[in-house]
Symmetry: C2
């Protein structure tokens, strides 16, 4: 399952860079959540798509995410991904870190599709803010 | 579901302190994994129970976990818990941090029971070690 997850994350990173949010939404289901920023959560595809559009705008439509070191912890149909997520963009002085230690939860749905359930690029930095 | 998870984690912390590993195993299923230490993973109840016994021994049978700030991200039947996990023990000079930012994944099984799927008390510190 590890290679499958790495491939999905890679495709998502490309879709975000290309602002191809329709393709990106193929990797989300209607139960999923995205931590947009500390204290702000997007729920369900429609909200998540809008959040990605806002994030792209915030970064002057130049955001390019890539992943560094990645650890995947697998427990049956659930996976916890801990990943160094690197953000690159034209924007100077972002108020958010561009080098993150992210936590992503994936799970298999009843059709056997692996989807991102919880996307939290802030990892444990959500604590003590 | 947030209160239910907090109650389960509280009961697990008490069971660990009392070294009541039989009760502790009620909150795990056979798919679950525990990150014992960076690079070492215990899988399935039997291995997880043995790992908890080793951890208790390592800390001179005086380990007492408690939780500080906790953030629970819920997506349908899956939950990502990000928690400040504080460890107290008689042992001096532990080679592991006693103040951790942990990541726990919970999921509901087909009987509706909420169980810990992935227990990683090291959080994103697993990266760049």
């Amino acid at each position: 399952m590890e290679d499958e997850i790495k491939e999905i994350i890679k495709r998502c990173d490309i879709a975000i860079k290309q602002e191809d949010f329709e393709s990106l939404m193929n990797y989300y289901s209607d139960d999923d959540i995205l931590v947009v920023k500390p204290g702000m959560i997007a729920r369900r595809k429609e909200e998540i798509k809008k959040a990605f559009i806002s994030i792209a705008n915030y970064f002057n439509n130049s955001i390019e995410p890539t992943q560094g070191e990645m650890i995947i912890l697998e427990a049956g149909n659930a996976e916890l991904v801990i990943s160094e997520t690197l953000l690159n963009s034209d924007k100077e002085n972002s108020e958010y870190s561009m080098d993150r230690r992210a936590t992503y939860v994936f799970r298999k749905n009843s059709n056997g599709e692996l989807l991102c359930a919880i996307e939290n690029s802030y990892g444990t930095d959500l604590l003590n803010r």
